[in-house]
């Protein structure tokens, strides 16, 4: 069976070990190529090392040209099956590759607790009981933190080609967005994230460059 990592323009691939150490190769379809490795059998339980094996193949490919990452765990019986999948969608896939050419994905996560501003004092607060004061302070801190996250976002947007807002999953996460940026802007983006982090006194964690997982929609599919 063939394990699939991602799609690229047809070009030679680097000597890289994929899942379980298997060498990667390509399955060509017109001027597109599916990057695969061949396996007799494969245990695809999603362990952390296996996920990183998949990821690191994509990162190597990304150094040499545009790549459309495929999620973990997709296999095909053989080359013919890969071709059947790609051929009818060739045009859309080529356009999707064009969209990410020379670009990378970065992620920004803003964590709440330390992103909070000093709590503004309100007149009349002294008439509240201690419980109410506590709840009001908590609410105001939360509002302040959300404002900071939005300000951080606004400062990053000028460096960005496209934004994909994520759904913050955990209560403490204020922002978890993905950005498609020109690779040439990567250093500037990181530098700005650093500045924002120290200025807000907050936990702004920027990771990347990632393969453009969040920017792979194919028109008409």
């Amino acid at each position: 069976m063939l394990y699939l990592y991602g799609l690229i323009e047809d070009r030679p691939v680097p000597m890289v070990a994929g899942i379980c150490g298997a060498p990667i190769t390509t399955s060509v379809c017109g001027d597109l190529a599916a990057v695969v490795s061949e396996h007799e059998e494969l245990d695809l339980a999603p362990t952390e090392p296996k996920l990183w094996e998949h990821e690191s193949v994509l990162e190597k490919l990304m150094e040499q040209g545009p790549v459309l990452p495929v999620r973990f765990g997709v296999t095909f019986a053989n080359t013919e099956a890969v071709r059947r999948e790609l051929e009818p969608r060739h045009e859309g896939l080529a356009a999707a590759l064009e969209r990410v050419r020379g670009r990378v994905e970065v992620s920004v996560r803003v964590l709440e607790h330390s992103a909070s501003l000093p709590v503004p004092r309100r007149n009349g607060a002294s008439s509240l009981g201690p419980g109410q004061r506590y709840l009001r302070a908590r609410l105001e801190r939360r509002r302040g933190a959300i404002e900071i996250a939005e300000r951080i976002r606004q400062e990053l947007l000028p460096l960005v080609v496209e934004e994909r807002p994520g759904t913050p999953m955990a209560p403490g996460t204020l922002l978890a967005s993905s950005y498609l940026i020109d690779a040439s802007q990567l250093e500037a983006f990181r530098a700005r994230a650093e500045v924002l982090q120290s200025r807000s006194g907050g936990a702004v964690v920027c990771t990347g460059p990632w393969p453009p997982y969040n920017f792979t929609e194919v028109d008409g599919s």
Partner: protein, 93 residues
């Protein structure tokens, strides 16, 4: 984005209690793992080969993901109490 570097454990002789640098490094590692899981299991170009990841597996991973996110918050607290201003590292590739 290298998972390997993050596994560097302190040798017993150099062991110090978790403080700023360790907390920051650990925070960056955990966030990186969350970002990886979020992408690699659920995003990417839609290709309908045989998808071998069972729904049960994804559920398990999501449970792990929530645990990781919960620990991020704890780590960030450690990081901020260690150095007083809440800085944590910007993870780089």
């Amino acid at each position: 984005m290298n998972g390997a570097e993050s596994n560097a454990a302190l040798s017993p002789s150099s062991y110090v209690p978790l403080h700023e640098a360790d907390a920051r490094r650990e925070l960056a590692r955990q966030v990186t793992l969350v970002e990886l899981l979020d992408r690699i299991l659920d995003r990417g170009v839609v290709i309908s080969g045989e998808i071998t990841l069972a729904v049960a597996d994804i559920d398990l991973v999501e449970v792990g993901l929530l645990a990781v996110i919960a620990s991020i918050d704890r780590l960030a607290t450690l990081s901020s109490s260690a150095n007083g201003n809440g800085r944590c590292s910007t993870s780089t590739a």
